[in-house]
Amino acid sequence: MRTTDAIEDARRAMQVCNSCRYCEGYCAVFPAMELRRSFANEDLGYLANLCHNCRGCLYACPYAPPHEFGINLPRTFAEVRNETYEEYAWPRPLAAAFKNNGVVLSLAAGLALVAVFICSMMLHDPAYLLSKHTGAGSFYKVIPFPVMLAASILTFGYAVLALVMGFFNFWRDIGGRTGDIFSPTALKTAASDALSLKYLGGGGHGCNDQDESFSSHRRWSHHALFYGFLLCTASTIVAGIYDHFLQWIAPYPFLSLPVVLGTLGGIGMLVGCGGLFALKLLADQTPAARNLLGADVALILLLGISALSGLALLAFRSTSGMGVLLAIHLSFILALFLVMPYSKFVHSVYRSGALLWNAIERKSKHE
């Protein structure tokens, strides 16, 4: 990890925090900090990704601005985190996408829309897009099945590859070896910490997601978004199995498994995106890194529009609006897959990695 202003600021903050330690009951960052006396750049990258941005430490801090020490750990760590996203991005030249990430995501979504519409019109009669199609295979009259399949496998496969490569860049940098990953107890702890968002719990009382008061708004919104996303993924996989192995061709009835999963997932994602979006706009901005607001909001909107367009497609699939809605929905999914490794989405990879490293570290401390 290179040395930057944010890294220097984080190092100075850790020097103050490590002499104070009042916040050690809030989350995993402070106990991890206490295992160290000095902080290399990689340590700071690890701690920044371990931070869940619950913001409890800012409101509890006697050294927060306007105190002359000016400690604002949530903001400093958010800036360091974004630098780790750049640092570990794969392939390296695409790291630049994190510079103006909100713009990059917006452009990607716009280009994907144009591409899908042009593709649809070139591959079929343009009139297909605006006509009514029903019954098995109606979706493929808008976008041919092989094209849909190839595009999704390629883009999603690439996203997974880039995320995995990024993870290993991070893992190596913080000192992990490949073999370390396969520690069952540590994996279990990390998975439980990640899936429950334990460290948005503020030691059991919620976090300061809006202001000095404690709430679980952000935790539940994130849960809704995350588990909604998983349900949508499950819906796609089930639909794939139906199609490929059982030769049941989409669209499926309202009470079929893919549609139920997708509907619940879509609603969850919408609720989650709405909650997170509201917090981004309404919460106290003191602990927020203003220059990262664009990246955060862009991903929330991208996920939210993906969910919304999916639900709209479901609602209007037997009308002549289906073609356009399908094209819009697929455009946003395409954009999401394309930008996944170059958006705020990567936080899931690095934070999980940091939680795993933390579980390993704590385990070795106890042994």
């Binding site: 020097q15 009042y22 509890a60 006697p62 030691g203």
Partner: protein
């Protein structure tokens, strides 16, 4: 006119007659305000600091000392009222009001549930403070989180809090407070008073006042906590006939890093290195047994020890063996490969320091070093001796920390009775003025210090003051 201007700005009507006016914005003040409000009073809190720095010294605290007979969720084992009392007697050398002290200790036994009902959260003892896990309850997030919780609870209950509002004058008639003149955001306002709680701390941030007792030396003191503890309310009360307690020179002071900011440096500037080092004055001479006892039992005397050094400065000197033995502090140590080089960097005479270290090294008797017990590593034939944890200083690099007296709070205060009523010089209690917190801690803490006791006194007397003020206001 002014009143309405201020009211428009703050949505607080200063023309209204509050049942209870609380002077101060820290732990004791907020406990009094909430208690009085819960008893049905209208309550106004006058906080000198702006909102960002609210809470007085409480924002730098982290625990309070609590008597308990059985383990609780946050306290281990038991800590009986008698043991608590013995600890207090020991540190104060008997300079305490036994009846008030015993009452305070007894009351601590029942305050945790009330604090929790006000949104204060606790956590297991902080790392590096294991010695306190049995006796002290730690606030999750520390004292500022506690102040946030109390302020939120108070405001939700309808207490009005006015920030940037400094009490300028009190107008007493006999034992009764009639009016308070304040400067609120720069505007002078006079408030009528039914009852008042004085909980605005000591005068440690008032260097001119400190100089009355310490002379020029006070200029070299660092103030660990709030810069707003100017002691105006205390001075006004004493000037107008309140009975005083406490030696004005006594205070809770520790040795902190001399590079700390003048005010508000808080916990991070403390240094726990003394027992693992030798401490010399600016002439490179040792002056006290660094290894006399465990640090938690001795840290509170080093502030005054350094205050009595020439120029109020001292230097803690150690080698590389000692550095990992204590908690890191905010400023890195001064570092050199030689003792002479270290002395030059610290600004003391290199030869004198070399001589002192050589004499010390020659006097060290080898033993089995153990920081967890009073070990047998000590000096022989050295004055003053180092009784424990004495190791030769011979493994470079060498490290040094400059030390200054860091004053936490002064003990001069107003005398109170069991109802937290301020006592007047002629011996009768005030009609309507109550006191809580550091302003009256001197009743119980004549000298010395016991970790977490300040917050205990503040909480117990804050609640008593709020309750008794409410009774008088209702009457």
């Amino acid at each position: 006119m002014l009143v309405s201007v201020l009211a428009a700005r703050n949505m607080i009507d200063l023309g209204r007659d509050y049942d209870v006016v609380v002077m101060g914005g820290g732990n004791a003040a907020l406990c009094a305000a909430i208690t009085a409000r819960q008893a049905g009073c209208s309550v106004l809190v006058l906080e000198h600091a702006p909102r960002d720095f609210r809470g007085g010294n409480s924002r730098h605290t982290r625990n309070l000392r609590v008597a308990h007979d059985v383990p609780t969720s946050v306290l281990t084992d038991r800590y009986s009222e008698d043991e608590y009392w013995q600890d207090l007697t020991r540190v104060t050398a008997g300079q305490t009001d036994e009846a008030l002290a015993r009452m305070t200790i007894k009351e601590t036994g029942s305050i945790l549930p009330w604090m929790e009902s006000c949104g204060v959260r606790f956590q297991p003892a902080l790392s590096g403070t294991l010695g306190l896990a049995r006796t002290n309850a730690f606030f999750l997030g520390g004292g500022k989180a506690l102040v946030n919780a109390y302020c939120a609870t108070a405001q939700k209950a309808g207490v009005d809090i006015l920030y940037d509002t400094e009490v300028q004058q009190l107008h007493l008639e006999g034992g009764a407070l009639r009016e308070i003149t304040v400067s609120s955001k720069g505007f002078p306002v006079t408030l009528r008073v039914k009852t008042a709680v004085a909980a605005s701390g000591g005068f440690q941030a008032n260097l001119a006042w400190l100089q009355e007792y310490w002379g020029e030396a006070a200029g070299n003191f660092l103030v660990r906590g709030t810069p707003y503890a100017k002691g105006k309310v205390l001075r006004e009360l004493l000037r107008q006939g309140a009975a005083r307690v406490g030696d004005p020179k006594q205070c809770h002071a520790v040795a902190i890093d001399a590079r700390a900011p003048k005010f508000d440096g808080g916990i991070v500037t403390r240094l726990d290195c003394v027992p693992y080092s030798v401490v010399v004055d600016q002439n490179a001479k040792r002056f006290y047994d660094e290894g006399e006892d465990f640090w938690p039992k001795r840290y509170a005397i080093w502030g005054l020890l350094v205050a009595h050094c020439p120029q109020q400065i001292a230097y803690s000197i150690m080698d590389s063996k000692s550095l990992p033995l204590f908690m890191p502090s905010v400023f890195p140590p001064v570092t050199s490969e030689t003792i002479g080089g270290l002395a030059s960097q610290l600004g003391i005479d290199p030869e004198a320091l070399q001589t002192t270290i050589a004499e010390y090294n020659a006097a060290v008797r080898a033993g089995a070093f153990n920081g967890q017990v009073l070990d047998d590593c000590r000096t022989e034939g050295l004055t003053p001796p180092k009784s424990h944890w004495a190791q030769r200083i011979d493994a470079p690099p060498y490290y040094g920390y400059p030390l200054r007296p860091g004053i936490t709070f002064t003990y001069l205060g107003v005398k109170v009775n069991h109802q937290a009523r301020v006592m007047m010089e002629e011996g009768s209690p005030s009609d309507n003025v109550f006191a809580a917190g550091e302003m009256m801690a001197g009743n119980i803490l004549g000298k010395g210090y016991l970790a977490g006791l300040g917050m205990s006194i503040g909480t117990v007397f804050g609640r008593i003051a709020g309750r008794e003020a409410a009774k008088v206001a209702h009457h």
